[in-house]
Amino acid sequence: MSGNMRPTPSACPACAAAPSAERLAEEAAAHVSAQIALSLPTIHCSACISKVEKALNAHPGVKSARVNLTLKRASIEAESDITAADMKTLVEALGYEAHELDPGTLNATANDRAGRELLMRLAVAGFASMNVMLLSVSVWSGAAEATRDLFHWLSAAIALPTIAFSGQPFFRNAWAALSNRQLNMDVPITLAIVLAVVTSLWETALSGAHAYFDAALALTFFLLAGRYLDHRTRAIARSAAEELTALEVPRAIRLRDGEEETVNISELAVGDLVLVRPGGRMPVDGEIVAGTSEIDRSLLTGETLPVFAGEGQGVSAGEVNLTGPLTIRASAVGADTSLHRMADLVAIAESGRSRYTSLADKAAKLYAPGVHILSALAFVGWYLYTFDVRTALNIAAAVLIITCPCALGLAVPAVTTAASGRLFRRGMLIKHETALERLAEVDTVVFDKTGTLTAGTPELTNMAELPRRDIELALALAEGSSHPLAQAITRAARDAGFAPARVSDVTERPGFGTSAMHAGQEVRLGRASWTGADGLAETATFLSRGGGDAPRAFIFADRLREGAAEAVESLKEAGKTVYLMSGDTTPAVEALAARLGIERWMAEALPADKAERIQALTAGGAKVLMVGDGLNDTAALAAAHVSISPASALDAARVASDIVLLGSDLSPIAAACDTARSATRRIRENFNIATVYNVVAVPLAIAGFATPLIAALAMSASSITVSLNALRLR
């Protein structure tokens, strides 16, 4: 909007010839204004819109702010000194959840040009088919002679340009298929449309009684409607998937001559010093040059236990820094990081989805040759019978029009649109077009542990066995730390109503733990080696109380993700075999399997082991659904028949999977299997409806009894039945 108000810098007419001034000015304008995008997942009403917009617009420096409720997003144009973090706190102060989005990633989908083009073609086809239908109705109700010819010519005048414009997607696809010497659904469609128009023109020129202009247009309209539905479902999935990617703003802090500067990850080079704060993800592969901390490698390896990190140790991109700030010298950046290389391997690997032929493709394979043969036979038969090219061609065209896959074209998109919309509202994003059909066939479910069945946040398990004094002491030490284990102790102790013991001089040593003075003695809470304890197999932290007492162990288990128990239970109830495969240690995996009642489990699995096991299951005839989130799962996700990953998963895992769980709840998985099965059933029913209609109408057409009226009735009736059947999906 503000672009229109900007005064033109080139005021004199001669300057118009040199547009560089304007371009320079535009570049300058781009410099002073920043585009900020925020994701607002909780907005839902008109009050929310005006509240957020008013607050944002009132902020000095904001030029314009607009909320899009459909995408649940706010786009802000502001002065360059306004940062996304400012806007985020502003919106959060109003009580709405806000996340920063990377505008660079979003811009790719901002203009859905293909969708708009399809919508335009659909509108033109709809407009023309209604007008032509109006003229056709007068012909069917008795217009004769000159009037009929006039109406036919008018229809032709509307139909020809419309088909030339609206039919382009079909013509293009058909041409692409033919030039590869293949047949697809668009070849018979194109042939039917072209033949219908040509024979109708011929008939009109000879003032014949039957013209199929309305049929050709209705055909185009219904088929475009199917294409548009299909495109929309996919566009929504794509934009939601890209929003997930955009949530991770690719920024890093580079140290140059001791100064911190925030840069895009793409600008980092080998040898740069990068600062990673606690809670941040490693942007590059490299070596730690300063600082000690603990790092969480669960997304890469599946192990829950944080690993000690000190100077000289190597780190990989994707690991999360937990306690202390680390300075890293980059040894591999961007596409050379081990994270990227592994993700690329997955992309190359043959995946379950490429082996799968969709129901629509199967139908097309049967259908396309069948239709051509049938109509060619009708032409030859009638030519030999009457020796009249005009009659034979008319009947061949009628056969093509009547068999044309209006209903087939709508059968799949109408159902997948309804099913995807339903699942999206439950928090599942269907990314791949055949994912639903594959999900319907699943009989075996493989879960990853860390980050999938568990939330990745630890929970204190042995509090009942600990003496009160120790808990109070541990609480006092833990409260000052942001380490996940310390926070788990704080949460558990506070919930149980404990008060912290009195301590002084609390200091945290990143990578080791927290120490303090209590009753004249040093007390420590932290790693086994630092507190003088022997390490345990489980996740644990230790409290040493000074004096001669042995250190006390605080043992943790990973907290179950919401809905995990329900999901496993209902999948088992539905008769599916459930497996648990994890890269974590045997005791941790065994404990979780027992807790959820999963009999088949596998621990300390390397990424290749998981993929191999899934391939073995597949070879044994099982249709495997893999649910996983880490880099160590990506190969397995790609190898499985169909795969699901939670939104918290690593980007590479989300790319490899067919379905993304948007919420933190796992329970929709079982329901999704049911929805997928009933969707597939509806698709099959729709194919049957289309077939039945062909069985009734084709003999009429071949016998030469088909009129444009019958064609129009049959076509509309079958398309509407198919759409209504899709809506029955529960």
Partner: protein, 52 residues
């Protein structure tokens, strides 16, 4: 039947007008936020004057 000479051009013209308006609405991004627009109509604030 001479009435057709008026009626047909009129109906085509009016249909074409509708189509032209539709093209205009697509071009001016009016289908980008259908859900938000259906709510905005309930708000009594006007936002047709962008911030200067």
């Amino acid at each position: 039947m001479t009435i057709l000479a008026y009626l047909i051009p009129i109906s085509l013209f009016m249909g074409g007008l509708g189509l032209a308006f539709f093209v205009y609405t697509v071009r001016s991004n009016q289908y980008d936020d259908p859900e938000g627009d259906s709510r905005r109509i309930l708000s009594d604030e006007y936002d047709d004057h962008p911030k200067p």
